[in-house]
Symmetry: C2
C-alpha cells in the first residue's frame, strides 16, 4: 500500500510525468521505501482505474512523448484518509525484517573468524552510510526554503534523523557484537 500513498503524496505537491515521479521518488522516499520504475507505472495505472488521478498524454516532437499525472479530488481524499489512520503502520514499524540477522542467527554453523568478518563488513557499511547521510541535511533545508514551507522540511528531516539514528545504533551494536566474539576467541 505504501507505494501507492507515496505516489499520492508526491503528486499532491504538483502534477508530474511518470518519469519525474520516478525521479522524485528515488531522491526522497527511496531512503525508506524502494520501488522500481516498472512497479511505479503499474501502480499509476491502477490508481487511474480507481479514479485517484487522471493522465494526459503530451505529444512532443524533440523528445519522447510523455504522460502527465494529476490528482483528482478522490485522490486527495484517499491521501487524507490514509494520513488519518496511522495505527497499522506504527505496529508494522516495530517489526524487523532482516536477512542479515538471519545470518547472524545461524552464524554458529560457521567459524568465529568468518562471523567476525561479516560483522566487520557490516560495521564498515554503517560508517559509509553515516557519512552519506550527513551531507543530506543542507539539501533538505534548501529545498524547504524553495518550497517555502519549513514545517514540511522539518518532517523530511525527521526521516533523515531516523536514518542516522538507526545507522549509529547499528554501528554500536556491531562493535558490541565484535567485542563479544573476541572475548570468546
Amino acid at each position: 500500500m505504501s507505494l501507492r500513498y507515496g505516489l499520492l503524496g508526491l503528486l499532491n505537491y504538483g502534477s508530474m510525468t511518470g518519469y519525474e515521479l520516478n525521479k522524485a521518488f528515488s531522491e526522497s522516499l527511496s531512503f525508506f521505501w524502494q520501488a522500481k520504475t516498472s512497479q511505479i507505472y503499474r501502480e499509476l495505472d491502477a490508481m487511474e482505474r480507481y479514479g485517484w488521478l487522471t493522465s494526459e498524454r503530451i505529444i512532443q516532437s524533440e523528445k519522447p512523448n510523455k504522460r502527465v499525472y494529476t490528482l483528482t479530488m478522490g485522490g486527495k481524499e484517499e491521501l487524507a484518509k490514509w494520513l488519518s489512520l496511522p495505527e497499522a503502520d506504527i505496529l508494522d514499524a516495530m517489526r524487523v525484517r532482516s536477512a542479515f540477522l538471519m545470518r547472524v542467527f545461524f552464524a554458529g554453523e560457521t567459524s568465529i573468524e568468518q562471523s567476525l568478518e561479516m560483522l566487520r563488513t557490516y560495521r564498515e557499511k554503517c560508517l559509509e552510510n553515516s557519512k552519506e547521510m550527513s551531507v543530506a541535511h543542507d539539501a533538505i533545508s534548501e529545498y524547504g526554503t524553495i518550497v517555502g514551507d519549513d514545517r514540511k522540511a522539518l518532517y523530511w528531516k525527521m526521516t533523515l534523523l531516523y536514518g542516522e539514528a538507526f545507522c549509529s545504533a547499528g554501528l554500536d551494536w556491531a562493535n558490541k557484537a565484535i567485542a563479544l566474539l573476541e572475548e570468546v576467541k
Copy 2:
C-alpha cells in the same frame, strides 16, 4: 530467499514436521523474519523439488497424520554455501523500509497535534517492545544450555541485542522528534 534458508537452518538442528517447523520459526526467526504457515508449506514443497530435503508421511491414528522433513546432503551444502556469501544481505541490511516513515515524511499535510499523537503512539510501542524483549535473554540462555552449545546461543543473543538496540534507538528518535515539534508549536 531468506525464508528458504531459515527453514534449512532449523531443519539442520534436526528433522521436524511442518507444524513443528512453523512453531520453531515463530518462536525464534520470526523476530526478524515473518512467514505465514501457507508460505512455509509452499516453500517446503519447492525445497523438496530441488532435492534439499525429503519428507516422510507418518500415519497416526489418534492425531492427524503428519509429514516429517529431513535435510539431504544437498540441503546441507546449500546452507553452507549461503552462509559463506553474506555480502548481498549486509548491503540489504543498510536499507530501511518503513511505511511509518512514509507517514512521517508526509505529516506536514496533517496538523501538528495529529503528528504528535502519531509519534507518541510510536514511542509507546517502542517502550512496550523493549519490555517484551528484556525477558527473552533467560529463555535463550536456557535453550543454549539444553542444546549444549553456548556459542550458538551467543549468536541468538546477538539478534536479540540488535532488536533491543533498535528499539531503544527508536525511542530516542521519537523523543527528539516530539521535542522538535513542541518547539514549533
